[in-house]
């Protein structure tokens, strides 16, 4: 599904290298988790994959089902099936949540040469999906993320994911700012989307999210590289001993 080879990334405006030869392969149907200390490059990885400005790829490649992602605009990557659930979802005053979602869904369908969803079909689908995530009609009418609580913003991200049905879901610290109940709800939303044809990359600081979204593979990212890969037990090791132990071990 997603294949990253020897990825080197620096900040565009600064001479600061962030990713230094990252290799990663996420297979369809699998959930990979990336954990790592602050400043290890976790968020940079998610932004580079989704196409945000401000980063320069100096070496390496990233492909989705063999298609090169790095030369594409963010909207082209989205149409191919890349989805980033933001750590800090953006508030957009003046744009209704429903309008936003319908525009997004139909833009992607159009880009893939598929027929656009009719208003009725769209409404039916979104109502069902919103209900599962306990998102009420009021939240759909409000401007995108404006006045949403931290939990509501994250649920709204998962709703977008459910509507857009991406192939590759990247979750950037989706647990940040969530209480236990909200985290469970979000995790249930994600688990409901687990599918043979879909890959997940879950970026997190803490093991607790992984109690709810059970990963198949856990990677430790440090200093811009994957330094250790293992099963779910690796996340527990981090939880118990912190990163210091693992980093000392691989150094």
């Amino acid at each position: 599904m997603l294949e990253i080879k020897n990825l080197h990334v620096k900040l565009e405006d600064e001479d600061k290298q962030i990713l230094k030869g990252l290799d990663l392969k996420v297979e369809a149907g699998k959930v990979h988790a990336i954990m790592g200390p602050n400043g290890s490059g976790k968020s940079t990885l998610s932004y580079v994959l989704s196409g945000r400005d401000g980063y320069e790829v100096t070496e390496g490649s990233a492909t989705l089902e063999g298609e090169d992602l790095l030369d594409l605009d963010p909207e082209e990557r989205a149409a191919l099936g890349v989805f980033l659930a933001f750590q800090y979802p953006v508030e957009i005053p003046g744009v209704g949540n429903m309008t936003f979602l319908r525009t997004a869904v139909n833009s992607q369908r159009k880009a893939r040469g598929e027929e656009e969803l009719s208003a009725a079909e769209f409404l039916k689908t979104i109502r069902a999906r919103a209900k599962e995530l306990k998102i009420d009609a009021e939240m759909l009418k409000r401007p995108v993320n404006v006045g949403f609580s931290g939990g509501e913003k994250k649920r709204n991200e998962i709703l977008q994911m459910a509507m857009l049905e991406p192939k590759m879901c990247i979750l950037d610290e989706t647990d940040s700012g969530l209480d236990v109940d909200a985290m469970k709800l979000v995790a249930e939303g994600v688990n409901a989307l687990r599918d043979e044809g879909r890959g997940f990359l879950v970026i997190t600081h803490y093991q607790r999210l992984l109690d709810h979204i059970k990963p198949d593979v856990v990677h430790i990212l440090a200093g811009g590289k994957i330094v250790k890969t293992g099963g779910p037990e690796l996340a527990l090791e981090v939880e118990n001993n912190g990163y210091a132990g693992i980093l000392a071990e691989v150094a």
């Binding site: 990557r77 989205a78 003046g94 997004a104 833009s107 992607q108």
Partner: protein
């Protein structure tokens, strides 16, 4: 003390090209307005009130040529059931207009108010304009009162079943139109007036609106899309106790537009909302100049102006709230914002508050900025192409002003116009 030479000679040159209409019962009002023009002189580049907008082409004796713009889009408000009053190059067109009779309102041409002996109109013509000359002079409005060639007197006595639509058709590329309307809304009466069309190559329009206690008036205007037209408009409104006046203006193109609104809240608990959305591309200069006077207790005024500018377009906002000493419990709000779609465009704003009462809430803000990059990336990351995302954010920026239009169907028609403008500029 006489006028500066430059102003004196410019004023004389303009007046020499004009003939004062017969006037009938309005003769005195027209002559008084003419002497106001002679005393004040026409606006000049060195006038403080015209610091950001060059008045030259608005006062020149010769009108600049303006091509008549052809568009595939149907005229604004076409889909609404309304009473149409059509002016072609500033002259009433009876053929193209609807029958002027409608329950709850009486409409007459200005030229007919003397023979019909319509007292209220005689007593209003030029009066609010004259009051509006202090503390800031508005010579183009006085010029309008003196020389207006046509216009209507609209007397709202009930609640007419449909809006009154003033349609301004431009057909002669050298036309110079001067229209003056007077409107009186009686106690408990309520009406909506729609205005649209470019009117002429050069358009000077004045509207005097007198709203009695508890009267309500909604005004929505769409200033025509002719690229080369120039317009100077004045709106004078006086509001009685518990009355409401809401105005919204959409401006799409036009090489030069100066819209002045002079609002006086003279009765307690009155409400005035003045809003505008404009989108300009290239050779486009748009000026909103607003002066709201609070002279009664517990009144609310709200100004919301949004401008989207690109390719060297210029937007100007001069907005003032004057709260007199007796106007306690005033609630005044003013916001003027521009969205610059490139580095070549500019927005000039002069927000002013002058408050003499001590128990008031007045807030104002003015911002200028570009498209929010964070929001743009968020939309794109969901698959929305950059042009669509930019349009979506541009419409979102204008939404606060368009939201001032209470009628949802009219608001939707305005949004459709804005979408059309954006889609033609891909």
């Amino acid at each position: 003390m006489g006028l500066p030479d430059v102003k004196q000679s410019a004023t004389e040159a303009r007046l020499a090209a004009m003939t004062l209409p017969e006037g009938g019962c309005l003769k005195a009002a027209r002559q008084a307005a003419l002497s106001r023009v002679q005393t004040m002189g026409l606006p000049g580049r060195r006038d403080e009130y015209w610091k950001y907008t060059r008045p030259d082409t608005l006062i020149s004796a010769e009108v600049s040529k303006a091509s008549v713009f052809a568009s595939d889009e149907a005229p604004m408000f076409n889909e609404f059931d309304r009473l149409r009053i059509v002016f072609v190059d500033g002259v009433y067109d009876a053929e193209a207009s609807d029958d002027l009779s409608l329950e709850g309102v009486r409409i007459d041409r200005i030229a007919d108010i003397c023979c019909q002996d319509i007292h209220w109109a005689k007593d209003l013509y030029g009066v609010l304009e004259a009051r509006g000359q202090s503390p800031v002079q508005r010579p183009l409005a006085a010029f309008n009162t003196a020389f207006a060639q046509d216009g209507v007197a609209i007397h709202v006595t009930g609640k007419p079943s449909k809006p009154i639509n003033l349609v301004y058709v431009h057909s002669d590329e050298m036309s110079d139109a001067i229209l003056h309307h007077v409107i009186r809304v009686e106690a408990g009466a309520e009406a909506t007036i729609l205005e649209n069309g470019p009117a002429a190559s050069r358009f000077n329009k004045c509207m005097e609106i007198d709203i009695a206690d508890t009267g309500k008036l909604h005004l929505v205007r769409a200033q025509g899309r002719d690229h080369e037209r120039r317009a100077a408009t004045h709106l004078f409104a006086r509001l009685g106790t518990e009355s409401t006046f809401k105005s919204f203006t959409l401006t799409v193109n036009g090489v030069l537009t100066r819209n002045e609104a002079v609002i006086e809240l003279t009765g307690d608990d009155a409400i005035a909302h003045i809003a505008g959305a404009c989108v300009g591309d290239g050779d486009f200069h748009h000026d909103d100049t607003v002066f709201i006077t609070h002279d009664a207790v517990n009144c609310e005024s709200r100004q919301v102006f949004k401008k989207v500018l690109r390719n060297g377009a210029t937007g100007v906002f001069q907005g003032k709230i004057l709260v007199k000493a007796d106007a306690q419990k005033t609630d005044g709000y003013q916001i003027s914002q521009s969205l610059l779609l490139d580095d070549d465009s500019q927005f000039l704003a002069k927000p002013e508050l002058e408050i003499y009462a001590d128990d008031v809430i007045c807030s104002h803000g003015s911002t200028t900025g570009a498209i929010d990059e964070e929001a743009l990336f968020y939309l794109r990351s969901r698959g929305v192409p950059i042009d669509d995302a930019t349009d979506l954010l541009t419409l979102a920026f204008l939404a606060e002003a368009v939201d001032e239009v209470e009628d949802t169907a009219v608001a939707e028609a305005i949004v459709a116009r804005l979408e059309g403008w954006l889609s033609r500029r891909r």
